[in-house]
Protein backbone atom coordinates (compact mmCIF):
# COMPACT_ATOMS: atom_id res chain seq x y z
CA UNK A 1 0.00 0.00 0.00
CA UNK A 2 1.39 3.33 -0.93
CA UNK A 3 1.38 5.80 1.91
CA UNK A 4 0.08 9.00 0.36
CA UNK A 5 0.16 10.82 3.64
CA UNK A 6 3.84 11.05 4.22
CA UNK A 7 5.90 14.08 3.34
CA UNK A 8 9.61 14.57 3.52
CA UNK A 9 10.54 17.46 5.76
CA UNK A 10 12.90 18.70 3.08
CA UNK A 11 10.57 18.27 0.13
CA UNK A 12 11.02 22.01 -0.32
CA UNK A 13 14.72 21.48 -0.93
CA UNK A 14 14.41 19.00 -3.78
CA UNK A 15 14.97 21.58 -6.48
CA UNK A 16 17.82 23.27 -4.67
CA UNK A 17 19.53 19.90 -4.34
CA UNK A 18 19.24 19.28 -8.05
CA UNK A 19 20.49 22.74 -8.92
CA UNK A 20 23.25 22.61 -6.36
CA UNK A 21 24.59 19.28 -7.46
CA UNK A 22 27.40 19.02 -9.96
CA UNK A 23 27.29 16.08 -12.29
CA UNK A 24 30.20 14.75 -14.25
CA UNK A 25 33.49 13.17 -13.41
CA UNK A 26 34.58 15.83 -11.00
CA UNK A 27 31.21 16.52 -9.50
CA UNK A 28 29.30 16.05 -6.31
CA UNK A 29 25.63 15.21 -6.02
CA UNK A 30 23.31 15.60 -3.06
CA UNK A 31 20.01 13.74 -2.86
CA UNK A 32 17.54 12.73 -0.22
CA UNK A 33 16.48 9.13 0.28
CA UNK A 34 13.36 9.55 2.37
CA UNK A 35 11.21 7.12 4.31
CA UNK A 36 13.70 4.29 4.74
CA UNK A 37 12.71 1.74 7.34
CA UNK A 38 14.79 2.17 10.49
CA UNK A 39 14.55 -0.04 13.53
CA UNK A 40 16.61 0.47 16.64
CA UNK A 41 17.63 -2.59 18.60
CA UNK A 42 19.06 -2.65 22.10
CA UNK A 43 20.34 -5.89 23.55
CA UNK A 44 23.29 -7.91 24.71
CA UNK A 45 25.39 -9.23 21.86
CA UNK A 46 27.30 -11.51 24.16
CA UNK A 47 24.08 -13.43 24.60
CA UNK A 48 23.88 -16.07 21.90
CA UNK A 49 20.11 -15.99 22.02
CA UNK A 50 20.18 -12.35 21.11
CA UNK A 51 22.52 -12.88 18.19
CA UNK A 52 20.48 -15.81 17.00
CA UNK A 53 17.27 -13.84 17.34
CA UNK A 54 18.54 -10.97 15.23
CA UNK A 55 19.88 -13.42 12.72
CA UNK A 56 16.60 -15.23 12.40
CA UNK A 57 14.66 -12.00 12.05
CA UNK A 58 16.96 -10.28 9.60
CA UNK A 59 19.21 -12.95 8.19
CA UNK A 60 22.17 -10.91 9.38
CA UNK A 61 24.73 -11.45 12.10
CA UNK A 62 24.60 -8.48 14.37
CA UNK A 63 27.86 -6.55 13.90
CA UNK A 64 29.99 -6.37 17.04
CA UNK A 65 32.88 -4.40 15.58
CA UNK A 66 32.46 -0.75 16.47
CA UNK A 67 31.74 1.57 13.57
CA UNK A 68 30.82 -1.23 11.19
CA UNK A 69 27.75 -2.41 9.37
CA UNK A 70 26.66 -5.56 7.64
CA UNK A 71 24.37 -5.79 4.64
CA UNK A 72 22.54 -8.44 2.79
CA UNK A 73 19.95 -7.85 0.17
CA UNK A 74 18.03 -4.78 1.10
CA UNK A 75 18.76 -4.98 4.83
CA UNK A 76 21.65 -3.38 6.66
CA UNK A 77 22.51 -3.38 10.33
CA UNK A 78 24.57 -0.53 11.77
CA UNK A 79 26.60 -0.90 14.94
CA UNK A 80 25.75 2.15 17.03
CA UNK A 81 27.06 1.29 20.47
CA UNK A 82 28.01 -1.80 22.44
CA UNK A 83 24.35 -2.52 23.02
CA UNK A 84 22.67 -0.66 20.22
CA UNK A 85 22.12 -1.34 16.54
CA UNK A 86 20.00 0.08 13.81
CA UNK A 87 18.45 -1.95 11.04
CA UNK A 88 17.96 -0.08 7.80
CA UNK A 89 15.51 -1.51 5.35
CA UNK A 90 13.53 -0.52 2.31
CA UNK A 91 10.61 1.85 2.48
CA UNK A 92 7.67 0.37 4.39
CA UNK A 93 9.61 -2.56 5.78
CA UNK A 94 9.55 -1.28 9.35
CA UNK A 95 6.38 -2.94 10.61
CA UNK A 96 7.46 -6.31 9.40
CA UNK A 97 10.96 -5.86 10.79
CA UNK A 98 9.72 -4.80 14.18
CA UNK A 99 7.30 -7.69 14.37
CA UNK A 100 9.92 -10.23 13.40
CA UNK A 101 12.51 -8.84 15.76
CA UNK A 102 10.17 -8.60 18.71
CA UNK A 103 9.05 -12.10 18.05
CA UNK A 104 12.55 -13.48 17.72
CA UNK A 105 13.82 -11.65 20.81
CA UNK A 106 10.83 -12.07 23.07
CA UNK A 107 11.67 -12.78 26.66
CA UNK A 108 15.08 -11.13 26.45
CA UNK A 109 16.17 -7.79 27.90
CA UNK A 110 15.96 -5.95 24.63
CA UNK A 111 14.30 -2.96 23.08
CA UNK A 112 13.09 -2.94 19.51
CA UNK A 113 11.90 0.48 18.46
CA UNK A 114 10.63 1.71 15.16
CA UNK A 115 12.56 4.91 14.51
CA UNK A 116 11.89 5.24 10.80
CA UNK A 117 10.72 8.80 11.28
CA UNK A 118 13.53 9.77 13.62
CA UNK A 119 15.96 10.41 10.80
CA UNK A 120 15.95 10.93 7.09
CA UNK A 121 18.80 10.02 4.78
CA UNK A 122 20.90 12.29 2.61
CA UNK A 123 23.29 10.88 0.08
CA UNK A 124 26.37 12.68 -1.08
CA UNK A 125 28.23 11.14 -3.98
CA UNK A 126 30.73 11.97 -6.66
CA UNK A 127 34.42 12.63 -6.95
CA UNK A 128 34.29 15.72 -4.75
CA UNK A 129 32.03 14.17 -2.13
CA UNK A 130 34.94 13.32 0.12
CA UNK A 131 36.20 16.90 0.05
CA UNK A 132 32.76 18.21 0.92
CA UNK A 133 32.60 15.79 3.83
CA UNK A 134 35.99 16.96 5.02
CA UNK A 135 34.69 20.48 5.30
CA UNK A 136 32.03 19.51 7.75
CA UNK A 137 33.12 16.33 9.44
CA UNK A 138 35.97 16.11 11.92
CA UNK A 139 36.64 12.43 11.29
CA UNK A 140 39.31 11.00 9.04
CA UNK A 141 37.49 10.65 5.73
CA UNK A 142 40.38 9.24 3.75
CA UNK A 143 39.76 5.83 2.16
CA UNK A 144 42.24 4.01 4.35
CA UNK A 145 40.38 5.16 7.45
CA UNK A 146 36.78 5.26 6.36
CA UNK A 147 35.82 2.59 3.88
CA UNK A 148 32.72 0.79 2.73
CA UNK A 149 31.52 -1.35 5.60
CA UNK A 150 31.98 1.46 8.09
CA UNK A 151 29.38 3.61 9.76
CA UNK A 152 29.95 6.22 12.44
CA UNK A 153 27.92 8.51 14.57
CA UNK A 154 29.38 11.97 14.43
CA UNK A 155 28.59 15.50 13.33
CA UNK A 156 28.56 17.06 9.92
CA UNK A 157 28.82 20.79 10.43
CA UNK A 158 26.73 21.12 13.55
CA UNK A 159 24.20 18.41 12.77
CA UNK A 160 24.47 15.04 14.50
CA UNK A 161 24.38 12.25 11.95
CA UNK A 162 24.85 8.55 11.45
CA UNK A 163 27.31 8.51 8.59
CA UNK A 164 27.56 5.44 6.41
CA UNK A 165 30.23 4.84 3.79
CA UNK A 166 28.17 3.11 1.17
CA UNK A 167 30.78 2.54 -1.48
CA UNK A 168 34.05 4.01 -2.60
CA UNK A 169 32.83 5.92 -5.63
CA UNK A 170 32.47 7.48 -3.06
CA UNK A 171 28.93 7.51 -1.74
CA UNK A 172 28.26 8.80 1.75
CA UNK A 173 24.89 8.42 3.40
CA UNK A 174 23.97 10.65 6.31
CA UNK A 175 21.05 9.78 8.54
CA UNK A 176 20.05 13.07 10.07
CA UNK A 177 17.25 14.08 12.40
CA UNK A 178 14.51 15.74 10.39
CA UNK A 179 14.74 18.97 12.35
CA UNK A 180 18.35 19.37 11.27
CA UNK A 181 17.80 18.24 7.70
CA UNK A 182 17.19 21.62 6.11
CA UNK A 183 20.18 23.10 7.90
CA UNK A 184 22.37 20.25 6.77
CA UNK A 185 21.18 20.49 3.18
CA UNK A 186 21.82 24.24 3.17
CA UNK A 187 25.21 23.72 4.69
CA UNK A 188 26.23 21.03 2.23
CA UNK A 189 25.00 22.99 -0.78
CA UNK A 190 27.04 25.94 0.40
CA UNK A 191 30.09 23.74 0.89
CA UNK A 192 29.59 22.34 -2.62
CA UNK A 193 29.52 25.77 -4.21
CA UNK A 194 33.19 25.91 -5.15
CA UNK A 195 32.83 22.72 -7.18
CA UNK A 196 29.93 24.23 -9.05
CA UNK A 197 32.22 27.09 -9.90
CA UNK A 198 35.15 25.00 -10.93
CA UNK A 199 33.11 22.42 -12.85
Amino acid sequence: MVDNFRRSIIANKAEAMINGSVTGDNGVVLTEIPFLAQVNIRGNCEDKKFVAGVKSATGLAVPTTPNSYVSKGDLTIFWLSPDEWQVIGPVDAQNDLVAKLRDALSGQHVAVIDVSGNRTALELSGAQARNVMKKGCRLDMDPQSFAPGQVVQTRVAKAPVILQMVDDKPVFRMFVRPSFAEYLVDWLLDAMSEYRYSA
Binding site: P66, N67, L80, S81, P82, E84, R138, L139, V152, Q153, T154, R155, P160
Partner: protein
Protein backbone atom coordinates in the same frame (compact mmCIF):
# COMPACT_ATOMS: atom_id res chain seq x y z
CA UNK B 1 40.93 20.49 20.54
CA UNK B 2 41.48 17.40 22.62
CA UNK B 3 41.53 14.06 20.84
CA UNK B 4 39.87 11.53 23.07
CA UNK B 5 39.66 7.84 22.45
CA UNK B 6 36.21 6.55 23.16
CA UNK B 7 36.67 3.00 24.44
CA UNK B 8 34.26 1.86 21.74
CA UNK B 9 34.23 4.27 18.83
CA UNK B 10 37.90 5.15 18.84
CA UNK B 11 39.54 8.56 18.69
CA UNK B 12 37.25 11.51 18.16
CA UNK B 13 37.51 15.24 18.58
CA UNK B 14 36.54 16.72 21.89
CA UNK B 15 33.44 18.29 20.33
CA UNK B 16 31.73 14.89 20.11
CA UNK B 17 31.80 14.48 23.87
CA UNK B 18 30.39 16.08 26.93
CA UNK B 19 32.51 16.44 30.01
CA UNK B 20 31.12 14.81 33.13
CA UNK B 21 33.40 16.06 35.88
CA UNK B 22 35.48 14.15 38.36
CA UNK B 23 35.15 10.38 38.18
CA UNK B 24 34.68 7.91 41.00
CA UNK B 25 32.38 10.02 43.09
CA UNK B 26 29.76 7.42 43.78
CA UNK B 27 26.30 8.39 44.90
CA UNK B 28 25.91 7.49 48.58
CA UNK B 29 23.65 4.53 49.06
CA UNK B 30 21.87 5.91 52.10
CA UNK B 31 21.73 9.66 51.75
CA UNK B 32 19.47 9.99 54.77
CA UNK B 33 22.22 8.74 57.02
CA UNK B 34 24.60 11.49 56.00
CA UNK B 35 25.08 14.82 57.74
CA UNK B 36 24.50 17.91 55.66
CA UNK B 37 28.25 18.33 55.42
CA UNK B 38 28.72 14.81 54.17
CA UNK B 39 25.98 15.29 51.62
CA UNK B 40 27.58 18.54 50.47
CA UNK B 41 30.83 16.63 50.07
CA UNK B 42 29.12 14.35 47.56
CA UNK B 43 27.17 16.99 45.74
CA UNK B 44 29.66 19.85 45.58
CA UNK B 45 33.19 19.15 46.76
CA UNK B 46 35.74 18.27 44.08
CA UNK B 47 39.39 17.32 44.08
CA UNK B 48 40.18 19.56 41.11
CA UNK B 49 43.46 17.78 40.58
CA UNK B 50 46.44 19.52 39.09
CA UNK B 51 48.16 16.58 37.45
CA UNK B 52 46.57 13.31 36.47
CA UNK B 53 42.85 13.83 36.89
CA UNK B 54 40.33 11.03 36.61
CA UNK B 55 37.24 12.31 34.98
CA UNK B 56 34.18 11.21 33.15
CA UNK B 57 33.18 11.94 29.59
CA UNK B 58 30.20 10.81 27.59
CA UNK B 59 30.36 10.23 23.86
CA UNK B 60 27.21 12.24 23.22
CA UNK B 61 27.45 12.35 19.45
CA UNK B 62 28.47 8.73 19.20
CA UNK B 63 27.68 5.66 21.26
CA UNK B 64 26.38 7.65 24.26
CA UNK B 65 28.61 5.66 26.61
CA UNK B 66 29.97 7.27 29.75
CA UNK B 67 33.58 6.38 30.40
CA UNK B 68 36.60 7.49 32.36
CA UNK B 69 39.66 9.38 31.25
CA UNK B 70 42.85 9.92 33.20
CA UNK B 71 44.21 13.18 31.87
CA UNK B 72 47.04 15.37 32.99
CA UNK B 73 45.34 18.70 33.57
CA UNK B 74 48.59 20.58 33.12
CA UNK B 75 49.63 19.18 29.75
CA UNK B 76 46.32 17.66 28.61
CA UNK B 77 48.17 14.44 27.96
CA UNK B 78 45.71 11.57 28.17
CA UNK B 79 47.26 8.87 30.29
CA UNK B 80 44.49 6.31 30.04
CA UNK B 81 40.92 5.76 28.96
CA UNK B 82 38.83 3.14 30.69
CA UNK B 83 35.24 2.06 30.84
CA UNK B 84 32.79 2.95 33.55
CA UNK B 85 33.09 0.43 36.33
CA UNK B 86 36.68 -0.40 35.48
CA UNK B 87 39.61 0.30 37.71
CA UNK B 88 42.58 2.23 36.47
CA UNK B 89 46.01 0.81 37.00
CA UNK B 90 48.29 3.67 36.09
CA UNK B 91 51.39 2.51 34.25
CA UNK B 92 54.32 2.65 36.64
CA UNK B 93 55.85 5.70 35.00
CA UNK B 94 52.58 7.57 35.09
CA UNK B 95 51.98 6.64 38.70
CA UNK B 96 55.33 8.16 39.56
CA UNK B 97 54.42 11.28 37.64
CA UNK B 98 51.06 11.52 39.33
CA UNK B 99 52.77 11.02 42.65
CA UNK B 100 55.23 13.78 41.85
CA UNK B 101 52.35 16.09 41.09
CA UNK B 102 50.86 15.53 44.50
CA UNK B 103 54.21 15.50 46.30
CA UNK B 104 54.06 19.22 46.64
CA UNK B 105 51.27 18.77 49.12
CA UNK B 106 52.75 16.71 51.88
CA UNK B 107 50.24 17.86 54.46
CA UNK B 108 47.44 15.35 54.34
CA UNK B 109 43.77 15.79 54.49
CA UNK B 110 41.97 15.45 57.75
CA UNK B 111 39.06 13.19 56.93
CA UNK B 112 36.37 15.68 56.15
CA UNK B 113 34.23 13.03 54.68
CA UNK B 114 33.66 9.83 56.61
CA UNK B 115 35.85 7.25 55.00
CA UNK B 116 33.13 4.69 55.19
CA UNK B 117 30.79 6.53 52.89
CA UNK B 118 33.36 7.01 50.23
CA UNK B 119 34.72 3.53 50.57
CA UNK B 120 31.37 1.86 50.42
CA UNK B 121 30.41 3.94 47.46
CA UNK B 122 33.63 3.39 45.64
CA UNK B 123 33.44 -0.33 46.20
CA UNK B 124 29.97 -0.37 44.81
CA UNK B 125 30.96 1.49 41.73
CA UNK B 126 34.17 -0.23 40.97
CA UNK B 127 32.71 -3.62 41.63
CA UNK B 128 29.98 -2.90 39.17
Amino acid sequence: MLYIKCPWCGERDETEYHYGGEAHIARPENPDELTDAEWAEYVFMRTNTKGVHRERWVHSDGCRRWFNVARNTVTNEIVAVYKAGEKLELPAAEAVKAEAETKKAPAKKPAKKPATVKKAAVDKKEGA
